[in-house]
Symmetry: C2
Subunit: 358 residues, 2 copies
């Protein structure tokens, strides 16, 4: 009962006799409850992460695999939480969580990225600072170990928001970011996924399931720090078998990533083309800002609208008050969330959380 | 006097004697005026175009140059209007207007595009259909004569929304779009602008004016057709001296271009980085949809918000009801608008229109 506790420490209440204490305290507590701003229970800091949405199901995932994913999500969540608990910025927390997932081959970002049609790994990322609405993004890089750090460098050290391909790689080199041999990113399972994708294309069958399974795995994070600043970031290898220099929603400010201290921070994962058309991330913030919707209500409304056009996927949302919400229309989304009030959980399948509307 | 004229053709009025005709007609006209729903005066179709915003002033532009720009704007406006007057789609009208401006070396799109730091012309474009919210975009192509046609092909003939660079060129070739020698796009004046830009960078002086003058010139169009469908498109060569594969707002669905039959169609021009961060095009539509603002009010509010972050530029907006609005915070924007009610005007400098709030 934090409200009553806060009431008891009020100086005027302490001088009352024991006889009157209980009912008076209750009354004082009620007054404080009525007078308390909506933020009385808001966490000092909060963070949510995702590692992609898709058609995962408990039946198709063995216990060992599940434990590995949960451990990887927990590690990323812990890395971001540590930054925030020590008074760090939302921006630093987002980067801490995402860089870990970029190095983890289980996720489709950085190491473990899916293969393009031409058999290479091409990375997209974006980041946004809700305090200033500064933003940075890059698309189509092949040798930058941490695309999210490149996005941040674009934001902080270039006059631009969005750089592409060889030019973005050149900028990364000029900034002294870590470059790696492109072989660093490739994994056997992703290469096999490309082979299956190409085979299915040839046969022109079984494509719908494959098409869904090959679109997901993007990673992202949103956070609110103890100064009330929001940040969001997203990093991905895109879609298996993508062609023609395809760019999805992940590096698009407004679609895959948005942060605005007035409303919210959002990172998206899913069928990027539909997320771009629905302007998912900024639309969620617009609804929260203009209609006063909660993170949960706005997130679910926009995912439903995106789904009505034919797409699927999910989002993580942090509200200006520190609320954290997940919204997705797939059977699962690798995800986790934590805050200064003790919330700390990771989940994979739909319905697994402690309650998605808190 | 369209109202009185409409009144006179009403059967009930025709049988009155000449003696009573004049005052009765006036009274009937008043009744019709009062009874008319708000949409009675909505145009069947409407279209607006822009050829970029910037620091142009009447003092610095000679009469001949001015006449040339006005003629070019009128030609593009007429091309789009013709499509709409003949019952064509908003999408076709937008494409008709933009392809003409892409071929005109006076505008920074297609032929006449600005030069990158490396001395080449790289084109970005995007297009969106408000009926379905289908969208297409491309960035960084060097040999596609009409980038807006490539954006449309991406929308209609690929599973993707956004293609980039060599991949986008390959897709254009596969689709049979017209390819040209990159020399087609270059003009002496744009090449000289790059030299001036580089010289100023070396001297680290006089950059602020140059920086402004080198960011603009994008072309775009928005339209509403007689079926009530909206469309928007934007095409550009980007910024003089752009580096590292920089992508501006023009090919970003949500920032440079957005169309949604529920609200509006928008095409933007200006300092792209700020337009991305403010999510300009979709934010205007969101305000119209969620707050009920007019095209003019929403456009001006979002340009002001973008300007408050430090950017500048402008937008053209078509509302679902056919309203057309311009909003810009520069001293001028090459622009034009026309509708089925007889509106037909082009303008360059601020304050030149017949009234920007109609």
């Amino acid at each position: 009962m934090p409200i009553a506790g806060r009431g008891y420490t009020t100086a005027g209440v302490r001088i009352l006799s024991q006889f009157f204490a209980a009912p008076v305290l209750a009354f004082a507590g009620l007054l404080l409850l009525l007078a308390a701003p909506a933020s009385a229970h808001d966490p000092e800091w909060s963070i949510a992460i995702h590692g992609g949405a898709g058609t995962m199901s408990p039946e198709r995932m063995d216990a060992e695999t599940r434990a590995e994913y949960e451990a990887a999500l927990q590690a990323a969540l812990d890395a971001g939480s540590k930054v925030l608990a020590e008074g760090g910025t939302a921006m630093d927390a987002v980067v801490a969580a995402i860089t870990l997932m970029e190095d983890d081959p289980k996720f489709n970002a950085g190491r473990g990225a899916v293969f393009t049609w031409d058999g290479v790994n091409e990375h997209d990322a974006s980041i946004m600072d809700g305090r200033t609405r500064d933003a940075g993004a890059s698309t189509g890089t092949r040798n930058v170990r941490h695309p999210i750090l490149l996005a941040r460098a674009v934001m902080e050290d270039s006059p631009h928001v969005f750089l592409s391909r060889e030019g973005a790689e050149q900028f990364a080199a000029e900034q002294g970011l870590e470059l790696v041999d492109p072989a660093w990113f490739g994994t056997d399972s992703r290469r096999e996924a490309l082979e299956r994708y190409k085979a299915a294309q040839m046969e022109e069958q079984g494509m719908s399931q494959l098409a869904i399974d090959t679109k997901f795995g993007t990673v992202g994070a949103v956070a609110r720090d103890s100064n009330g600043n929001l940040a969001a970031g997203t990093s991905t290898g895109g879609m298996t078998g993508k062609r023609w220099g395809r760019i999805g929603d992940s590096p698009i400010i407004g679609s895959g990533t948005y942060a605005d201290n007035r409303a919210c921070a959002v990172s998206a994962t899913g069928w990027g083309e539909y997320f771009i058309r629905t302007n998912v991330a900024a639309e969620i913030c617009a609804r929260m800002r203009m209609k006063g919707e909660s993170a949960k209500v706005a997130g679910e409304a926009v995912i439903a609208e995106m789904g009505a056009l034919g797409g699927n996927g999910g989002v993580i949302v942090a509200g200006a008050n520190g609320d954290l919400a997940f919204a997705f229309d797939t059977t699962g989304m690798y995800r986790g969330r934590a805050d200064s009030e003790g919330l700390n959980e990771v989940a994979i399948f739909a319905g697994e959380d402690s309650g998605e509307d808190d």
